[in-house]
């Protein structure tokens, strides 16, 4: 027994890596579709879009990069899909330079299901703008002046979708897909609190605990936290994607991490007790 405990106590970390890799690869190969429920912040996020009158203009700021793609790209797809399915108009922009191509890719993927949607009328990509919080505050004064041209080089004021859109007051809702800084925190502090717009957020799981207080205070209308939040949202919009597919692997890998923590602690305390007894 003591030998086994000592072995566990000094377990090579590479053994843990192998177990983690298997706990992800096997559920991906043989999915069992473990059930999961929809949490309130995700339901509120969904309801915020559902409750808008058709044809509402929604600003979606996609502030992420390929590093957080597994968590945020499924959200991005699901948000675009949900907005188009409710006949809303999408105005998208990016505060992260590397997010532009991801947004273009997400839009192309969603447009394959909505071939009648036209650029400039039903959606527009304003592109990337450097300046972080300064851009946000500047948009509160004038969106066309902050983004004189869109990603394709068109003059923003000539686009039908942008007619009547000058400040945040002219938008029904603001959605932020956030990979870090600048992201949801900055949108809450600089835009929601100043201009009192309705703001929803999809963020990485790492930053989710920081943003839940904003849901409780009503500063965010809803929150999608990490891959789990994305999977719940995919379930609500009835479009299972890569987030829902990853939930089996997520659950199994968490069980493995939990087991290793428990086994490690048992080995540690049992050995400590044995050493104490030997000393006496």
């Amino acid at each position: 027994m003591k030998k086994l405990l000592e072995k566990l106590d000094s377990l090579d970390r590479r053994v843990i890596f192998v177990f983690i890799a298997l706990s992800i690869a096997i559920p991906l190969l043989f999915p069992v579709n473990l059930k999961f429920s929809v949490t309130q912040p995700v339901q509120s996020f969904y309801d915020a879009i559902e409750n808008l009158p058709p044809g509402s203009k929604v600003l979606v700021s996609c502030d992420y990069d390929p590093g957080s793609m597994p968590e945020l790209y499924p959200m991005n797809i699901a948000v675009f899909h949900h907005l188009f399915s409710r006949n809303h108009k999408i105005i998208t922009m990016q505060l992260w330079a590397t997010g532009t191509l991801l947004v273009e890719r997400a839009m192309t993927e969603v447009l394959s299901e909505f071939p009648d949607k036209k650029y400039g009328e039903d959606y527009v990509n304003l592109g990337f703008k450097e300046g972080r919080e300064v851009v946000m505050v500047s948009m509160g004064t004038s969106i066309p002046r902050t983004f004189p041209t869109d990603y394709r080089g068109n003059k923003v004021e000539t686009l039908p979708i942008m007619q009547g859109v000058n400040t945040f007051d002219d938008l029904a809702l603001l959605m932020n897909i956030s990979g870090g800084l600048p992201g949801t925190k900055e949108w809450v502090l600089q835009v929601q609190s100043r201009f009192h717009v309705k703001l929803g957020s999809g963020c990485t799981a790492v930053s989710a605990p920081e943003f839940y207080p904003y849901v409780q205070s009503g500063q965010l209308v809803g929150l999608l936290g990490g891959m789990k939040g994305a999977a719940e949202y995919e379930k609500l919009v009835k479009r299972p994607g890569s987030a829902a597919r990853g939930m089996d692997a997520q659950s199994v890998s968490h069980i493995i991490v939990f087991l290793f923590i428990v086994i490690g602690n048992i080995a540690f305390f049992a050995l400590k007790k044995t050493k104490k007894r030997l000393k006496v």
Partner: protein, 206 residues
């Protein structure tokens, strides 16, 4: 053809990075250096075409917006840091940048974080619903004891010590939740990479 090549390059570089889990090796070093180099190059090119040309150079040279010469000069002054003799000149644009950002963020933090979060924590302890009231009581105790833990002007003894101890428990639970979310986030990234390898590269997933 190009897409296939891209998938192979991405997959092999992913494996090079994963090889670090076994031990440090030249494949990992190669991938790491390549990533840093490409990121820097890509970032500079992107900023040049998306920021410098449309926001400064074209308006200045083609549209005659001469006032933009001021940020242009301030921008150039930032590079004076490379020359010890003239490096003090970079303090002017730095002061401007820090001043603007401080001004903007202080207002945001004051109104968005401080006032509204304090307001959100002033909750009725009895709402007529048991569960909601229980939640509000727990939240209020957590806020008060957490604040007691961070007050250092009085020694943590007696009632204050007990409050600080309870505050520590609330903080520990909060750190545990954050750790759980961090694990979930990192697992998601790993799932994304393994999914890519199995689906796009090996073709064993749909």
């Amino acid at each position: 053809m190009w897409e296939l090549l891209g998938i192979w390059v991405a997959s092999l570089l992913t494996l090079c990075v994963f090889s670090f889990l076994y031990k440090d090796n030249p494949f990992y070093k190669f991938a790491e250096h390549l990533f840093v180099g490409i990121s820097a190059g890509y970032g500079i090119t992107l900023e040049y075409y998306n920021v410098f040309l449309p926001n400064l150079w074209r308006p200045l040279t083609q549209q005659g917006k001469l006032l933009l010469i001021v940020p242009f000069i301030f921008g150039i002054l930032l590079f004076s840091r490379f020359f010890r003799r003239y490096s003090w000149l970079s303090r002017w644009p730095m002061a401007l940048i820090i001043g603007i950002y401080a001004g903007i963020t202080i207002v945001g933090y004051g109104s968005g974080d401080l006032i509204l979060q304090i307001n959100a924590n002033l909750l009725p302890l009895w709402t007529g619903k048991w569960l909601e009231s229980f939640n509000n009581i727990i939240l209020t105790i957590g806020v008060i004891t957490g604040l007691i833990y961070f007050s250092f002007s009085k020694e943590h003894k007696g009632a204050i010590g007990a409050g600080a101890k309870i505050g520590t428990w609330f903080l520990m639970i909060s750190f545990g939740a954050s750790f759980g979310y961090t694990v979930m986030s990192r697992m998601s990234l790993l799932i994304g990479r393994i999914y890519f390898l199995m689906a796009a590269w090996l073709g064993i997933l749909q």
